[in-house]
Symmetry: C2
Subunit: 154 residues, 2 copies
C-alpha cells in the first residue's frame, strides 16, 4: 500500500485507496460496512478539506444518508480511529479521514477556507502531560489567521 501514481489529491494513495484503507480499519474494529457509511467515506476521501456532519450529508446527495446517520457514523468511526475530529471555533466540529500522517490545519478567519499544514511538534508540551501521569494522549490543534487572498482583496 503505497506510491501509486498520484491523481487529484496530494497525499498517498488516492481517494479510492484511502476509502479502502478506511474500510479495512472498520473491519478490524468490527464496525459494519454499510452503503451509507461507504458513501460517507467517499465524500470524505474526495474532499480537500475537513467536513462537518452536515457537509457530508449534503455532499452525499439525495437520500444517501440521513444527517443523524452522518453524526452517528462519524462518531463511531472517530472512536475507531478511522476519521479524525477537528473541533473548530464557534463550536463546530469537522471530520477528515484519518491519514497516516498526523497533521493540522489553518483556517482563514474571513473566508473560512482550510488548508493542511505539514508536521506537528508538540513533543515538549506532550512530555509535560506525560510527566503529570496522563496516559493515552491525543491532542487537537487548529490555527487561525487571515489567508493571503482575504488580506489582499477582502
Amino acid at each position: 500500500m503505497s506510491h501509486g501514481h498520484r491523481h487529484d489529491d496530494g497525499c498517498c494513495g488516492g481517494a479510492a485507496g484511502r476509502v479502502e484503507a478506511a474500510v479495512a480499519r472498520m473491519k478490524e474494529k468490527s464496525l459494519r460496512v454499510t452503503a451509507p457509511r461507504l458513501k460517507l467515506l467517499r465524500v470524505l476521501a474526495e474532499s480537500a478539506q475537513p467536513l462537518s456532519a452536515e457537509d457530508v450529508h449534503r455532499l452525499a446527495g439525495q437520500g444517501a444518508l440521513d444527517l443523524v446517520t452522518a453524526y452517528r457514523s462519524l462518531s463511531a468511526m472517530e472512536e475507531a480511529g478511522v476519521v479524525q475530529r477537528h473541533p473548530m471555533e464557534r463550536g463546530r466540529t469537522l471530520y477528515a479521514l484519518a491519514s497516516g500522517h498526523h497533521h493540522h490545519h489553518v483556517v482563514c478567519r474571513r473566508c473560512g477556507r482550510i488548508e493542511r499544514l505539514p508536521g506537528c511538534d508538540t513533543s515538549r508540551v506532550e512530555a509535560a502531560a506525560l510527566a503529570r501521569g496522563y496516559a493515552d494522549l491525543t491532542h487537537v490543534m487548529e490555527f487561525y489567521g487571515v489567508c493571503p487572498d482575504c488580506a489582499a482583496h477582502g
Copy 2:
C-alpha cells in the same frame, strides 16, 4: 507587579492581582467595568480551571450576572485579550483569564479534570502557515488523556 508571596494559586500575582490586571486591560480597551463583569473576573480568577459561561453564571451566584451577560462579556473580553478561549471537544467552550504566559491544557477523558501545561512549541507548524501567506495567526491546542487517578481506580 510581581513576586508577592504566593497564596493559593500557582501563578504570579494571586487572584486579586489578576483581577486588577484584567480590569486595567479592560480600561485600556475601553470596555466598561461593571459589577457583573467584576464578579465574572473574580470567579475566573479564583478558579483553578477554565470555566464555561454557564459555570461562571452558576458560580457567580444568585442574581450576580445573567447567563446571557456571561456569554456577552466573555466574548467581549476575549476580543480584548482579557480572557482566553479554550474550545473543547463536543463543542463546549471554556474561558480562563488570559495569563501573560501562553499555555495549554490536558483534559482527562474520564473525569473531565483539566490541568495546565507549561510551554508551547508550535513554531514549526506556525512557520508553515506563515509560509503560505497567512497573517495574524492564533491557535488552539488541547490535549486529552487519562489522568493518573482515573488510570488507577477508574
